[in-house]
């Protein structure tokens, strides 16, 4: 039972020294899931697949996988009624890389908002996941199952996907480490597409070292993903240096405005002070187009989603409504199969792309995306990274925002710009509110500079204790 409380790097050390076997870790994890998942509901429990997919060369650590990453032989349902029972004919590149590295993956998949549409994991057709720190609160989303599983020691480490903050915001809400890599760093082949120009797969882990280790495994060029970039993958563990001396950090003034919870603000300021004592140099900077990020995102992400989700029509896989003619079959299947948020986004996206509205919405949003990207380019001319809160608040109550989509969208206000600019960002635990909920610190850097994120995050982590805190379950 104890092994599930450890990090992957601690366990790999024990495996190397012959102190524990991979099978024992898996069995401890299964017991832990049996013990607490009835409360947390981090995993999707309807699939009839085995808890562990066999890997004859398994000598490492199981990785828990979000339900939108294809795992051959193990259901991948995107937590959507339209894909219930879908058993992928091939595995995602990241899954093959995990297996090639001697590790394996949990056969149970992690819960998520349907098609990754959401910020709370409440939009899952299997029901919500609960935050391990307070079961009445959401774990964040859309990778809420992955984040909650890691926080509750039901996973050693996990993969999520991040289109507008879906790794970082749940990492922040659950008190774990979540990284969104540079666009193109990790192959998207086998990730069920939401918004193809924004999506990236990334790790959710208990500490920064595990994040670097998992990035070493999953990163790299893939001929099956024409948007993956053919540039060498460094050994990210080399960036785990306990020293922040001379690192130049920008603090964007547009992120510290109305809407930011005063308690979160205070905790972030304390974290900044800590980093100052470690030698980092801070200066206020401006990202003037910040306020346009959410509107740009909800045009571009929904437009791309409306196109990507056209494939769910009842012909090749998933649900099919019984009708007499083809058009009715498409329409009925999609009415029955998609949840409310999926319908909302597909219709909004189709509207933004439709004749007469394209220039006013879609094209304009693409242009404003350029302005947002230029804001970052300008800051990174003089700074190594940018620090912000990951989310304006700590975890909110289940049900609190479900009837107000716009309010829900605004909970991603600090994470969305990163996807629009394609840059990498990490969220690390940096404190707790008076009610005992975790708060995350977000560090951003320029394209392919994950190393800088790891360096600053590691220096902070080695000089604080937040990452060692465990929820009582």
């Amino acid at each position: 039972m104890e092994s599930c409380k450890l990090t992957a790097h601690e366990l790999l050390e024990k495996i190397k020294n012959g102190e524990i076997a991979s099978e024992q870790i898996f069995s401890d994890l299964s017991k832990r899931i049996e013990g607490v998942d009835s409360k947390v509901k981090a995993y999707v429990r309807t699939s009839d697949s085995q808890p562990l997919v066999h890997n004859s060369n398994f000598r490492g650590i199981p990785v828990s996988i979000k339900d939108n990453i294809c795992t051959e032989g193990c259901n991948t349902e995107c937590c959507s009624k339209i894909l219930v029972g879908f058993n992928p004919p091939y595995s995602a590149t990241v899954i093959n890389k995990i297996i090639e590295s001697g590790n394996s993956f949990m056969g149970l998949k992690c819960n998520m908002d349907e098609f990754a549409f959401g910020s709370s994991t409440e939009n899952s057709c299997f029901g919500p996941t609960h935050n391990p720190w307070n079961l009445e609160c959401v774990p964040g989303g859309s990778s809420g199952g992955s984040a909650a599983a890691v926080a509750a020691d039901e996973a050693i480490w996990a993969l999520g996907s991040d289109t507008g903050g879906s790794i970082r915001q749940p990492a922040s809400f659950c008190g774990v480490v979540g990284l969104k890599p540079t666009y193109g760093r990790v192959s998207r082949f086998g990730l069920i597409a939401f918004a193809s120009s924004l999506d990236q797969i990334g790790p959710l882990t208990k500490d920064v070292r595990d994040s670097a280790l998992l990035m070493n495994i999953i990163s790299g060029y893939d001929p099956n993903d024409s948007t993956s970039i053919n540039t060498p993958v460094p050994d990210y563990t080399k960036d785990l240096i306990n020293d922040a001396k001379g690192i130049k950090v920008g603090i964007p003034r547009e992120y510290f405005v109305e809407g930011l919870d005063p308690e979160v603000k205070l905790i972030i300021e304390e974290a900044v002070n800590k980093l100052k004592t470690l030698g980092a140099q801070f200066k206020e900077v401006s990202l003037p187009h910040t306020e346009y990020a959410v509107p740009v995102y909800y045009i571009l992400a929904t437009a791309e989603a409306s196109s990507n989700l056209a494939r769910f029509d009842g012909v090749q896989y998933g649900l099919r409504a019984k009708t007499q003619n083809l058009i009715d079959m498409y329409k009925k299947t999609r009415q029955l199969g998609f949840g409310d948020e999926a319908k909302r986004r597909i219709i909004l996206g189709t509207f933004a792309l439709s004749h007469g509205y394209y220039d006013a919405y879609y094209l304009r949003a693409l242009k404003v995306r350029t302005l947002i990207k230029q804001d970052f380019d300008n800051v990174f001319k003089d700074f190594d990274c940018i620090i912000t809160p990951t989310s304006p608040t700590s975890a909110f109550k289940i049900g609190e925002k479900v009837d107000d989509p716009l309010k829900m969208y605004l909970s991603d206000i600090y994470t969305i710009s990163v996807n629009l600019a394609g840059i990498p960002a990490i969220s690390i635990p940096c404190g707790f509110t008076k009610k005992g909920l975790p708060v995350g610190l977000q560090i951003l850097s320029k394209h392919f500079n994950e190393g800088m994120l790891f360096r600053l995050a590691y220096a902070y982590e080695q000089n604080t204790e937040w990452h060692k805190m465990k929820p009582k379950l």
Partner: protein, 95 residues
């Protein structure tokens, strides 16, 4: 620019999603609310700005035109709601 119920109905048809009266009502008012927020984009002058569809300078990736093995048909068909031989079956399209 706003969005009315008729537009939502038309767009839902384009997106091949059937909506019942209740869904149409609720969606129309929610989308109106969301679009009012999005309309803040019209405050910016974007006249000479080049649109960004992908953030990194990537080119078309071409592979050699060589035949390669595809996934086997039975694997592809195993998730089909309805199939016959090596085909997907759909409701009759041609009279």
């Amino acid at each position: 620019m706003g969005i009315d119920k008729k537009t939502v109905e038309d767009v839902a048809h384009l997106a091949r999603i059937e909506l019942n009266a209740e869904e149409l009502e609720k969606l129309s008012s929610q989308l109106e609310h969301i679009l009012a927020f999005i309309d803040k984009l019209s405050l910016l002058n974007t006249e000479n700005i080049v649109p960004t569809s992908h953030v990194l300078a990537i080119n078309n990736i071409l592979r050699k035109d060589e035949p390669k093995a595809s996934l086997p048909i039975d694997k592809i068909l195993k998730n089909a709601p309805e199939k016959q031989g090596s085909f997907f079956v759909v409701p009759k399209v041609i009279e």
